[in-house]
């Protein structure tokens, strides 16, 4: 049957030990570097270092410490686990409600890369818009990439405005959304796709996700719940790893879509 696994206590149930192991993943560190990074004084951290050495996860090296062979096998598995748990813990009810399978599975497996997220729910006056908290960073972005399966009333105006300000704007839209956009705003769409820094891609497949907006400053996405319902909200992260994740999400849909060159 299953093993007791003594090391679980060692690696998880002390924040000092856990953080130290993750810090040493980047290579050997001196005790001074450890104290500065973890903001600890000598004697409490030395006590934890001794435990980690005793359990064979750490070895002394020259003036500092580094992960042992055992540590190097284990610590890389801790990081994705802890980051996934953290993303779920911070917005537990949100993730429990959503249909996570609407994310491509290779990106769902890396959901921890979203890092610190916050859910923004617009007040009634902004109920069809992006929340005001992201409008400022949106206009400061250099590139804006959006994937969307629903129609935002702000579409032609906002995106045309961003493009006119010299921002690179790319959109992947589901076919029905594109059709609606063309029938309601033919002239604006024509103007938009004729700009050098603006692109529209149309996707024949269903985009399962509600929407994802990723720029060089933040990612803001919204999902459909398990019972198939949608309410206006944005899950926003400003972390670097999240931007990379969002770019891959955009590329995933762009790669199965076709660019529109004329209306």
């Amino acid at each position: 049957m299953s093993m007791e696994l003594q090391l679980i206590d060692t690696i998880f149930f002390s924040d000092k030990r856990k953080n130290l192991l993750l810090f040493l993943k980047n290579g050997p560190k001196t005790i001074e570097e450890i104290k500065t990074e973890l903001e600890v004084s000598s004697s409490p951290i030395m006590a934890q270092i001794r435990i980690l050495i005793k359990d064979g996860l750490l070895v002394q090296k020259d003036e500092g410490y580094e992960l042992s062979v055992k540590g190097k096998l284990i610590v890389p598995k801790m990081e994705p686990l802890l980051s996934t748990f953290r993303v779920f813990d911070e917005n537990h009810d949100y993730w429990a409600r959503q249909n996570l399978r609407t994310l491509p599975s290779h990106l769902l497996d890396r959901i921890g890369e979203l890092g610190k997220c916050m859910e923004l729910v617009p007040d009634r006056t902004h109920i069809f818009d992006y929340p005001p908290e992201i409008m400022d960073p949106l206009y400061r972005s250099k590139t804006v990439m959006e994937v969307s399966s629903f129609f935002r009333p702000g579409y032609p105006g906002l995106y045309l405005d961003l493009a006119n300000k010299g921002i690179e704007v790319s959109m992947v839209l589901e076919k029905p959304i594109y059709r609606k956009l063309v029938s309601d705003y033919r002239q604006e769409v024509g103007e938009f796709i004729n700009m050098e820094n603006a692109q529209i891609f149309v996707c024949d497949n269903k985009i399962e996700l509600a929407s994802s907006l990723v720029t060089d400053r933040f990612i803001s996405m919204s999902m459909i719940s398990k019972d198939g319902r949608y309410y206006n909200h944005e899950m926003v992260s400003f972390e670097k790893s999240a931007l990379e994740w969002g770019k891959e999400l955009f590329n995933y849909y762009r790669d199965m879509a076709e660019q529109i060159t004329q209306v």
Binding site: L5, I8, S68, K77, M78, L82, F85, D89
Partner: protein, 284 residues
């Protein structure tokens, strides 16, 4: 307030086992009882903790992981596999893992089921009967070897005649020695339909790897390059496919001995002790 997932999953060994069990497939209470060897009263509070944390739901009389539970399971599984591997045996940390490429090292938890087979000191220089017998009824056999083991030659030939797929990767010194002593047999083996012979540079960082449909074995050198005749072996399908990938890694770096010309060039050059460098790709 939800408690943190790390506590939900790892504070109790019962819950950890339950998560790993339900990660395989949905289970009824009856199955959980038997597989985890617990009473319903002992396990129900743990199930409730999981359902309260949105990791498990009850559906059609079975308990199953939610999408969130499945993500938590995947991350826990890969960590627990590595912890099991290192806590079960020190073999891996006492030996040189340099011969295993990073992408397979990342999945070393796949071979957590390996057991150490210690050499019997009285038989260290005898043919390894256990290995021979174990692999003798394989439907396919893949071998990477830094050793000259002439006692296995009959096994290779026998399996070859029985239409099993047999692929061998020898280092140049090992092939050299085989050719010196068994040139006819090796020539015959290399030209059979269902057999492949490859050669790679000396200095492999693994001592020996044998994979078949029946199981796998691997032996490594220690950090000083010493070899102790012990090996690790496992019959899990997961370990077998890991070992096959390791074999494929070595195959991609080896030269196929596919016609007799190569053997001719090998036997002629190796007489002066130098094998043509250009024939071999680096095995590192």
């Amino acid at each position: 307030m939800q408690s943190e997932l790390i506590d939900v999953v790892f504070r109790s060994q019962k819950r950890r086992d339950l998560l790993l069990l339900l990660g395989e497939e949905p289970r009824t209470m009856e199955e959980i009882k038997v597989l985890l060897d617990v009473s319903p009263t002992a396990i129900l509070p743990h199930i409730k903790r999981f359902t309260d944390s949105n990791l498990v739901i009850q559906k059609n009389g079975k308990y199953e992981l939610t999408d969130m539970g499945n993500q938590v399971f995947k991350k826990a599984r890969s960590l627990v596999d590595v912890l099991t591997l290192v806590e079960k045996d020190n073999y891996w940390i006492e030996h040189d893992l340099g011969g295993i490429p990073q992408y397979l090292l990342d999945r070393i938890g796949d071979i957590k089921g390996c057991n150490l087979v210690k050499a019997d000191p009285s038989q260290i220089f005898e043919p390894s009967i256990e290995l021979f017998n174990f692999f003798s009824s394989s439907r396919y056999l893949m071998v990477v070897s830094s050793f000259y083991r002439p006692e296995f030659l009959p096994l290779y030939s026998k399996l070859g005649r029985l239409d099993s797929e047999v692929s061998l990767i020898f280092t140049e010194s090992v092939l050299d020695k085989f050719l010196h002593n068994y040139e006819r047999k090796i020539r015959k083996f290399a030209t059979m339909e269902n057999t492949d012979l490859f050669v790679c540079k000396d200095g492999l960082k693994i001592a020996e790897l044998i994979v078949s449909d029946r199981g796998m074995m691997i032996s490594l050198f220690d950090s000083q390059g010493r070899f102790y005749h012990d090996y690790m072996s496992c019959y899990d399908p997961q370990a077998i496919s890991w070992a096959r990938e390791l074999f494929d890694f070595y195959k991609s770096k080896a030269l196929k001995v596919e016609d007799e010309n190569i053997i001719d060039s090998f036997t002629s050059t190796s007489k002066d002790g130098a094998f043509s460098e250009s024939l071999l790709l680096s095995c590192h």
